[in-house]
Amino acid sequence: MSDVVLRADDLAKTFRLGFLRKRIEAVKQASFEVRRGEIFGYLGPNGSGKTTTLKMLMGLVFPSRGRAEVLGRPVPDRQAKRRLGYLPESPYFYDYLTPEEFLDLVGALFDVKRADRRARADRLIERVGLSSARGRPLRKFSKGMLQRIGIAQALMGEPELVVLDEPMTGLDPIGRKEIRDLMLDLKREGRTVLYSTHILPDVEMTCDRVAMIFAGRIRNVGPLSELLTARLLSTEVCLRPGAAGLPDLPQGARKIESPDGLVIDLPADADVDAFLRAVLAAGARVHSLTPRRESLEDLFVREATSQRQGAT
């Protein structure tokens, strides 16, 4: 069994819009692999080409260049789709159906027998916490409930690979946590999860590897630990000054007032030991000391900025 469940190889998509057939390059170059059993994050700002890439992988949009393979077969392939679950961005479902009816329809599309469909639908409705709403038409569902039934329909075919397009968008913190937990559960069950997002804290909590796309071009692919530099960016010291006040701050340090006292942000090259000795000698009380290394947000902003500068 191959270790790679999804491969995008130099994918590109150009749309031609309007009467003058204006060229819009939604995706310029997307190459990445998703490995079996991992949670893979596909990150990028709004309009960067995430959804178009996923639509190419799902066979909804035909690539202008490149090729894609899902579960060892070229896209679109019905055999591969049998082992795949997909939740589109801001999903819309047949709102006149109840969750049971909708999941029954999806099950039938996977050629699941009627009795099995019912059992699976019951299990999934329970799993996504919609038992109390099973008889209610989807038009009466909140955004969070729709997202949950969306996840349930993505799991109806018992897929090996689950692809979720912006699953956290529009959810409150509890809803986001539930989706995160569900993705981790799927991973524990041995399934592979690929999801697109621009909500970075969720990525740090869930993803084994990520790909970042900016203006239609993939900039970074790999494990977060490799993408984020280990180098120190700054050291944050929280303290309450003593009666003697503060000693002179090292060059480049910033002083920020906080309810508990002061936050001193020391540059990476500052002598932290010497500074601590000086403030303690001046009678200050040090509450905390935090070395700040590059976060996913820093990397994301750095890449987005360099992409924008490159474009101008």
Partner: protein
């Protein structure tokens, strides 16, 4: 087969839960029942009036519903983005189009069945029967509606509902007038005649499905007499099905190549 059946059943269920269709059905039934009042204005022609107005109601509302629902059939899936959830499932795009079309036909069959039932009850109330000519006439109208649906679905595979409706209605009106256009062509010069004859050959001849009053051979066809024979019924049905199939295959080919942005 299970996948096509699932899409067809869902399309039917959507139509059954759509209040607009009930309104159209209500008006169709109202027109059929209006034949009772209109009949009183005639001299001993009440039953003839009920048959004519009843068939007109089934025909007109069948076509209106076919165009109205047909042009929205695929467009609505794109507009409401439900297609993004359904097409990534293990389903061929042609299966999706075929399922939608079959669901639509089932809806129309039920609607026309209800209209036929109301017409039958009206005739029974007047002491007449919903006899074999009437059954044949309603069957031909159903084949016609199937053809209109296929044409509406074909246009909706690549254009907006407004344009699709406009084109489908145009095809229906021209298709119904094929004998008149041919008669006109016979009186024109060779170039105009060739153009009109070619046009008539390409357009669906929907006059075949509403032949009451037409002269075939030396005899006038009428639902009030023997109407058409089995061979006419068979050839017209085969023509309607073949034309529908060709148009539907074209719709599937267009749908197969579409990007769902």
């Amino acid at each position: 087969m299970r996948r096509i059946q699932a899409i067809a059943w869902n399309t039917f269920r959507e139509a059954v839960r759509n209040k607009i269709l009930y309104s159209l059905l209500f008006f169709a039934v109202l027109i059929i029942l209006s034949a009772l009042a209109m009949g009183n204005l005639t001299l001993h022609e009440e039953i003839r009036m009920t048959r004519d107005i009843g068939l007109f109601g089934i025909d007109a509302f069948g076509v209106i519903i076919a165009i109205f629902v047909g042009v929205n059939l695929l467009y609505k899936e794109l507009d409401l983005k439900t297609v993004y959830t359904i097409l990534p499932k293990p389903l061929h795009r042609w299966e999706f189009v075929l399922g939608k079309w079959l669901g639509m036909l089932l809806t129309l069959a039920v609607q026309m069945g209800v209209m036929g039932l109301v017409l039958g009850l009206t005739l029974w109330w007047q002491g007449a029967q919903f006899d074999t000519p009437m059954v044949k006439a309603v069957w031909l109208l159903f084949v016609n509606v199937m053809l209109v649906t296929s044409i509406a679905v074909f246009f909706s595979a690549f254009s907006s509902p407004f344009l699709s409706g406009f084109f489908a209605l145009g095809c229906f009106l021209v298709g119904r007038s094929v004998p008149d256009i041919r008669a006109l062509a016979a009186k024109l010069g060779p170039l105009a005649k060739t153009v009109l004859e070619t046009g008539c050959s390409l357009m669906p001849n929907m006059h075949l499905f509403y032949p009451s009053g037409a002269i075939v051979g030396a005899e006038e066809l009428s639902v009030h007499r023997d109407f058409v024979g089995a061979s006419y019924l068979l050839t017209s049905t085969a023509y309607g099905m073949a034309y529908s199939l060709i148009v539907l295959i074209l719709a599937m080919l267009i749908f197969r190549k579409r990007d769902f942005v």
